[in-house]
Symmetry: C2
Subunit: 341 residues, 2 copies
DNA sequence: GTGAAAGCGCTAACAT
DNA sequence: ATGTTAGCGCTTTCAC
């Protein structure tokens, strides 16, 4: 009734545990005959090796931890798929954790992952200063930061070009004839929040367009803030003719507000969002967006982590920056006469 | 440079490992003074207990495995959130795995989870016959099936009323005056696929509407099949005036096809989907759907698992069925004159 | 080619 | 109130 152990197998097969261990681990130097006897015993007992015990002696778990801030953001499942796919190839197992954008939960999760002796960590942190990572760094556990940088520690990082993407988005708006352009930006203490705003600014400066303070809305990357921000914008004496939303959730919120208040997309207001949405094509008119190669981001992150985990001695930290792509659909053209085209 | 162990702490604090263990586990019966000494040592070494070692002796990991078939289906993140939230309350840790709808991967994952000695398993299986679960059942590891039943074993189950939801959806279509109603159904070997079709049939029978064989499209719950199914429907000599899609991804595919072929939603064809979509309100016209309480599903699943894990002796298997709700928006009204209203 | 035995880091009796 | 010690199930020298 007890879970069978390597001992039970050894007894049944009339060999030592060492031999069983060798069979399990596919080491050679074992007579075919005994090997088969062992395999039959394993079969009979439906023995499953205990990974905990193995990890204790090997001092490695073949497990990596992945911490993401919001599993309900469609961005992350794709990222996760990318990570898992690569991990699976190298037979690493992934433990996925959701910090829910809370630095406290993130700290707890790190603690728990450390207790469970993960071999490495991939993280999109909820707090870019990264004090939470202290224990990880201390133990020299391989880490890679995805999508958001860590300020306090020098760690491997994989990002997409935020400044670049936001710059392109804003320029697109400008080239459509918009001059009253608003941004619903993310928290300025996060890299994406900060950089996307920087790209936005750069485009405006380059085209010598003034930035009205009232056109800057402080969001938090969640739907609700996009929703409220849009309403705020609409209530301005002079509402913008175009909005750049800094992430998909806020784009969604913006869209909801637009519909609700009857601010007509593509006629009275243009919109471009950072990050694609699976339904962007069904919005009326279809939504123009900055799209990020999320899956590749995940793949690159694991590859980097793997390189780190398997490298001996010193490791030189690397930063990868992938390029976003702007998907032009139709939400940025304005049909009103005072806009060109 | 080595990870500090309980021994290091004991030495530094000049106590035995047993005492350190007691402090770590917050057992009382320890002089405040020594306790503090131990805590200081822990602090100084930034010691983190090794959960592997602990689990080995305790024979429990406080970890549950969760296997879902498709992390990119917006349904599952919600489910996961529900599970995690409850798990966290009872300080259980969740390992999330994605089978990608593959029974083979699912088997592997189960194997790995078993190797890692999870205390329980929550699963939405990729193969409802459930042979993969054999080893889990054998070891008497608590399991709960979510959203899809297991045919070969009697296990705790949490579902939503598929028949009911599909029945309501179809009836809604009928009451809008539709008689040429098609269904894009899921694989008939899965419970949701089968039951949703049954609900569909029941409504038609009840209202004495004939079911044209050509109106039954065999999908696989993925976007592509919804897309292709819709095109097939359109190419019929006599296309249906309404479509019931059996899950969100196929609804999405259907929508894409509709747009592409110019089959106008709400004018030439009505649509109701099983499962809500975050953008259902932005479709033109807004999409009517059958909505499932996904978060609650997850909560209920963990609660059930927890009850099982903490119960002594025999456990009577339970089945919970939560009720879906139909969210009426506007995609089912037809504007053409030969339909009532 | 195979076995004996020493741990891995921790907990839980059992002593004291 | 605290210490001693025997494992938990496995891998890995080191012998034979």
């Amino acid at each position: 009734m007890r879970k069978p152990t390597i001992n039970d197998v050894a007894n049944l097969a009339k060999v030592s545990t060492a031999t069983v261990s060798r069979v399990i681990n596919k080491q050679d130097g074992i007579k075919t005959q005994t090997k088969e006897r062992v395999q039959k015993a394993i079969e009979q007992l439906s023995y499953i090796p205990n990974a905990l015990a193995r990890s204790m002696v090997r001092k490695q778990t073949n497990t990596i931890g992945v911490i993401i801030p919001d599993i309900n953001n469609p961005f992350f499942p794709l990222l996760i798929s990318g990570i898992e796919q690569q991990a699976r190839k190298k037979s690493y197992f992934t433990i996925l954790c959701n910090s829910n954008e809370s630095p406290e939960i993130e700290s707890e999760l790190i603690q728990v992952l450390l207790e469970r002796s993960v071999d490495g960590l991939i993280i999109t942190t909820a707090d870019e200063y990264g004090h939470q990572l202290q224990p990880v760094i201390e133990r020299k556990i391989p880490v890679v930061a995805v999508d958001r940088q860590i300020k306090n520690f020098e760690v491997d990082t994989v990002l997409v070009g935020n400044v670049d993407g936001a710059y392109q988005a804003t320029r697109h708006l400008i080239l459509q004839g918009h001059t009253k352009i608003a941004i619903i930006r993310g928290p300025q203490k996060t890299t994406p929040g900060y950089e996307r705003f920087a790209g936005f600014q750069r485009a405006l400066e380059e085209y010598k367009i003034d930035l009205d303070e009232g056109y800057i809305i402080e969001g938090d990357f969640k739907e609700q803030s996009g929703y409220e921000g849009t309403k705020r914008l609409y209530s301005l004496k002079e509402p913008p003719t175009a909005i750049f939303t800094s992430n998909n959730l806020m784009t969604l919120g913006c869209l909801k507000a637009l519909t609700e208040i009857g601010w007509i997309l593509g006629e009275q207001v243009g919109l471009i969002g950072f990050d694609d949405l699976d339904f962007a094509e069904f919005v009326n008119p279809p939504l123009t967006v900055v799209s990020r190669p999320m899956r590749q981001l995940g793949e690159a992150a694991f590859d980097l982590l793997y390189a780190q985990m398997t490298s001996e001695g010193d490791w030189t930290k690397r930063h990868y920056v992938l390029s976003p792509e702007i998907k032009i659909r139709q939400s940025c053209f304005l049909k009103s006469p005072n806009q060109q085209k």
